[in-house]
């Protein structure tokens, strides 16, 4: 009963963590990603960009970029607009402006494996193969790191990409592009979200959010297990056995191909051939055949087709 009363009073005064019940406002900007895909890094980048006068750390990050599972409801209500909100959730049409940050699932699986071992959520007897099984099934793998269900990587990325072909405002970012040129990608975010975008502000934010700086901030907060363990890409090429790579590509080859991730165990063309997502991505890009072709083939020097499509479509 006391527990109920405490919960009730917290509710009445907005001191609870709203989770998925948070009321969405039309100008909210959602930063969505599957876990282990660089969300924390991106939050540091955005927070440092918006608040150059403050020292951003794990202690205050959730007050600058909101996390419905950590920030309390009252802070949400009092936040200056537009609010920037973090989620690991799947597609949510209530948000009309979404930054979706995606990372190669082969690297995500490795990152998740390392993290779960560091957290001692899984023991030494739990093999990488076991992890891939759970990773592909979704749900249960996610529940190891959180109480919510984000779906599998394919469900999460697939639901956002599938629905966003009619979404007026979705900015697709790849973690790999972020690693290659953080300033360029942060500038895209700033343009999309209407944040300061001067060269000085951008480069200052990038410098202040360098992975080693974030790790220092983690240590100050008494975190033994860094949230940003290894800022690198392509680790799967050496660390993930080929049969496991093949399982991931068999399950999500079409999504990966749409995102411009090279497949090594199957042909990208055949992965896309019978794919609904491939059809949606191509068909939605424009009203003419040329525009559509452009969407998947054009702009390859910079980014994968979908990201090019999204930036023009918004």
């Amino acid at each position: 009963m006391i527990r109920y009363l405490t919960a009730g009073v917290k509710h009445a005064f907005g001191l609870y963590r709203p989770g998925r019940t948070v009321p969405v406002r039309p100008d909210d900007i959602l930063l969505a990603s599957y876990p282990n895909s660089g969300n924390t890094w991106m939050r540091f980048l955005i927070a440092n960009l918006v608040h150059p006068d403050r020292e951003v750390s794990y202690g205050n990050l959730h007050q600058l970029v909101f996390d419905p599972d950590v920030s309390v409801k009252r802070d949400f209500d009092r936040a200056p607009r537009p609010r920037i909100v973090k989620t690991h959730g799947s597609f949510d049409p209530r948000y009309r402006r979404v930054i979706y940050l995606v990372r190669d699932p082969r690297d995500v699986a490795l990152a998740q494996y390392q993290r779960l071992r560091q957290l001692r959520s899984i023991g030494d007897e739990f093999s990488l193969e076991d992890l891939i099984g759970r990773f592909l099934a979704g749900g249960h793998a996610a529940s190891l790191v959180s109480t919510d269900h984000f779906g599998s990587w394919g469900e999460n990325a697939g639901s956002w990409l599938a629905a966003s072909f009619r979404h007026p405002g979705l900015l697709l970012l790849r973690y790999e592009d972020l690693l290659a040129d953080a300033a360029r990608e942060l500038t895209r975010v700033a343009e999309f979200a209407g944040l300061p975008e001067t060269t000085e502000r951008i480069s200052q934010a990038v410098a202040r959010s360098a992975p080693d700086k974030i790790t220092d901030s983690e240590k100050e907060q008494g975190r033994d297990v860094p949230l940003v363990p290894s800022a690198k890409s392509g680790g799967w090429r050496s660390d993930l056995p080929k049969p496991l790579v093949a399982r991931i590509e068999a399950a999500w080859g079409d999504i990966m191909a749409c995102l411009g991730y090279e497949l090594v165990t199957r042909d990208s063309h055949s992965a896309l051939e019978s794919s609904l997502l491939g059809l949606l991505a191509v068909g939605a890009a424009g009203s003419t055949g040329e525009q559509r072709e452009e969407a998947l083939v054009g702009d390859t020097s910079e980014r994968a087709g979908l990201s090019a499509e999204r930036t023009t479509a918004r």
């Binding site: 009730g8 209530r94 629905a163 009619r166 609904l276 068909g283 072709e293 083939v297």
Partner: protein, 298 residues
């Protein structure tokens, strides 16, 4: 100082809401608790969800023919119940939902219907519910429908695509086309039965189909005008209306049909909903190509 009374009112209001929530009298909406053994009958609104519920309820409960009074108990709607009521539904639960993709739903029967028929149906349903007046044109309505502004479940395309891309190859996902259900109800219901792991003899299936026919549902609707779907609505517009497929060909202005087809051409093509006019459908000429090597992540 003058603002204090206002603050007090809102504090009292918030306390009442909070108390209701804590005691489980509030409707948890989208955030109700989901169990691993739940099965969900999911569709965008006006896509045959109620008919499918009738079919399944009549199959599972031959002793209690479904009607508009008991259907919310036989196959409840998660959003229509309070947390306490939801907790009392016997497990494993079979529930109705209109949600866009929700990763927590592990077992899903998803019904899809030609969006041109869905738009016509929702237009008449909203008139029945008095959410739009007689002066609201169907052209106006379709524009809002395409933008996803007619209900809280995303647009038709968002709802359908989010489920299909996430789950189409998953063993816990059964896709039904409303048009197939109309054409061969028994066959489709047998598929549902085997998906649910239910023994369904041809006699039981035939009985369920008979008890859920459009004629019978119209009669039941007349007898039970107090049911949740028909309560406080215009009685001159029926809930069970055309109950067919392709009605849009006569009811939907060409301009509106084109608007829908332009918005969702690839998805409609994939589902077998062809264009109304002979012209180059957007999806036909789309040659799928992969980003050139070198584009992949560095």
């Amino acid at each position: 100082m003058n603002q204090i009374p206002m603050n007090q009112t809102s504090t009292i209001k918030r306390l009442i809401t909070a108390t209701k929530r804590v005691l489980g009298h509030a409707n948890p909406g989208r955030y109700f608790e989901v169990f691993d053994d739940d099965t969900f009958i999911v569709s965008f609104p006006k896509s045959g969800n109620t008919w499918t519920r009738f079919l399944i309820a009549n199959l599972l409960h031959p002793e209690e023919p479904a009607n508009f009074g008991n259907i919310d108990r036989l196959i409840p709607e998660s959003e229509g119940l309070t947390r306490n009521q939801l907790a009392r539904v016997p497990r494993p639960r079979i529930m109705k939902s209109h949600e866009y993709f929700d990763a927590r739903f592990r077992k899903v029967v998803y019904i899809v219907r030609d969006p041109r028929d869905v738009a016509v149906s929702q237009f008449h349903f909203f008139r029945k519910k008095r959410r739009i007046g007689d002066d609201h044109s169907i052209e106006q309505f379709v524009t809002r429908f395409v933008a996803g502004q007619t209900c809280d479940y995303g647009s038709w395309g968002e709802n359908v695509a989010s489920w299909l891309v996430a789950r189409q190859n998953s063993p816990g996902f059964l896709l039904l086309r409303y048009e197939d259900m109309v054409a061969r109800t028994g066959v489709e219901l047998t598929r549902v039965a085997s998906f649910l792991g239910v023994q369904a003899t041809p006699d039981l299936v035939a009985q369920a189909v008979e008890r859920s026919s459009a004629d019978r549902m119209r009669k039941l609707e007349g007898a039970k005008a107090t049911a949740s779907v028909t309560q406080n609505t215009r009685q001159d517009i029926p809930f069970v209306r055309a109950a067919g497929s392709g009605g849009w060909k006569t009811d939907l202005p060409e301009k509106s049909a084109l608007e829908l087809e332009t918005a969702w051409a690839p998805l409609m093509k994939w589902l077998g909903y062809g264009p109304s006019l002979v012209r180059t459908p957007a999806a036909n000429e789309a040659r799928i190509k992969v980003p050139a090597p070198g584009a992949p992540a560095r």
